[in-house]
């Protein structure tokens, strides 16, 4: 069963009209998840909302929040002749301090794009003389796939498979945003796929502690419009609840099997986020029993010198403090072909999404 184009248009009109009718004051809603950012822009939702409803992007692009330090380390590994890097395509173009993985690849580094971390294992098996390093980035949704891959490698007795881990967890970043004095968010669209693993529990504090409405949201245009509608309804009614718009996928308890594997392999650790700095318990480190899969333990590198690009305001973008075109570089000295910051590169980066889909470049009539 699918909706016809007409049914879709009618449902969308219902929500947008409802939103427009119910909103009484300017509100700032944050879509935490980069996939939501992309979906919003691809479906042109921003143009459907009244001016008083402002959507800001959050810290939910795993590539964007990964600091240069990580990329510089990955690049340093890629330069070694005894390594093969496996990575999601997302990481290729992201600038580190001096270079990108794509540029290293062009210079001859053996860097292979995988769609699944599991694809790293045959590479390791077929290249016994090399260390195969998987760039393990991603949030709650992706981290279990890396953990399962580590277990598989263990079972297959592969000792030349390593992970360079920069996994991150969403709730600690939300907490940092809510606790910060500078940003004000009136409601959250919460990441449906992260919640599919973690369940609803980790997100309750948003409504309960901070009294901010929040909706776990799916990724179709209508899912998002409905979630915005729900937030506006709550705000209009003075409520602050955690709603689940994405019940077909998100169960209250999440996916306990996935969490078990995740917890078997990883333990929470402090992590650096671009724009936030260190956040306690917001990252994942391999447990001591699996430390022999850790790239930095097995192949220690000399100090990697790192610097963030001058003038880039990705940090503020990621914390929802500014929209991309508030950055003076945007669309001028910073474009997808000549990016300054990671947010202009990642497919889910707010700056890249703004640019690509025309926001801040073109005045929609």
């Amino acid at each position: 069963m699918r909706l016809t184009a007409e049914e879709t248009a009618r449902a969308a009109a219902f929500f947008t009209e409802g939103i427009a009718r119910r909103v009484s004051r300017p509100v700032r809603l944050m879509e935490v998840c980069g996939t939501h950012t992309v979906a919003i822009f691809r479906s042109g939702i921003r143009q459907l909302l009244p001016a008083s409803v402002e959507l800001v992007s959050g810290p939910g692009c795993p590539v964007c929040v990964t600091p240069n330090e990580y990329l510089d380390t990955a690049i340093a590994y890629s330069r070694r002749p005894d390594t093969i890097i496996t990575t999601f395509g997302d990481m290729l173009k992201v600038p580190g301090s001096e270079s990108t993985l794509m540029a290293q690849k062009a210079r001859g580094a053996d860097i292979r794009i995988v769609y699944s971390p599991l694809e790293s294992l045959p590479v390791a098996r077929d290249n016994p003389g090399k260390m195969v390093i998987f760039l393990a980035v991603g949030f709650e949704t992706t981290a279990p796939t890396a953990a399962a891959t580590v277990l598989q490698a263990e079972q297959q007795g592969l000792d030349n498979f390593l992970v360079l881990s920069a996994h991150k967890l969403v709730p600690p970043a939300l907490q940092a945003i809510l606790a910060a004095p500078d940003g004000k968010v009136d409601g959250f669209l919460l990441p449906g796929h992260a919640a599919a693993i973690s369940g609803l529990e980790p997100y309750r504090f948003v409504a309960e502690t901070y009294q901010v409405p929040a909706v776990v949201t799916g990724f179709e245009a209508l899912d998002i419009l409905q979630a915005i509608y729900i937030l506006i309804e709550q705000l209009a009614g003075g409520k602050a609840e955690l709603a689940n718009q994405y019940r077909r996928v998100v169960k209250p308890e999440g996916n306990p099997s996935a969490r078990k594997i995740l917890e078997q392999v990883y333990q929470p650790a402090a992590a650096n986020w671009r724009g936030f700095g260190g956040i306690d318990g917001s990252g994942l480190a391999l447990r001591p029993e699996y430390r022999h899969f850790d790239a930095q333990t097995r192949l220690p590198l000399d100090n990697v010198v790192t610097r963030e690009p001058a003038g880039c305001r990705c940090g503020e973008v990621l914390r929802g403090l500014i929209v991309p075109d508030a950055c003076p570089h945007f669309g001028r000295s910073c474009t997808p072909e000549q990016p300054v910051g990671a947010c202009m590169v990642s497919v889910e980066g707010a700056c890249a999404v703004w640019y690509k889909y025309g926001q801040g470049r073109w005045t929609y009539a």
Partner: protein, 75 residues
């Protein structure tokens, strides 16, 4: 932050399953969703099934979207 696609399981053997999305098939790991069975709709991400899709809920959402216009007329 995480692209994921609904797919239907058409075969499974141990911890691997064949899934299909509009006729396109792929092998995915069931390590993260060991209870999944042939016929189930699951969400796939990075080569793994990461969650089952509740068909009743899915249908309910679609029906809601279809019937919204009635509410719209009402309001």
């Amino acid at each position: 932050m995480c692209l994921a696609v609904p797919a239907q399981i058409t075969e499974r053997s141990e911890y691997m399953a064949t899934v299909t999305v509009s006729g396109v098939t792929r092998q995915v790991s069931l390590m993260l969703l060991p209870e999944a069975a042939v016929g189930d709709y699951v969400l796939i991400h990075a080569g793994f099934a990461i969650q089952a899709i509740d068909e009743a809920e899915a249908r309910r959402t679609l029906e809601l979207f279809k019937e919204l216009e009635q509410y719209a007329v009402d309001s």
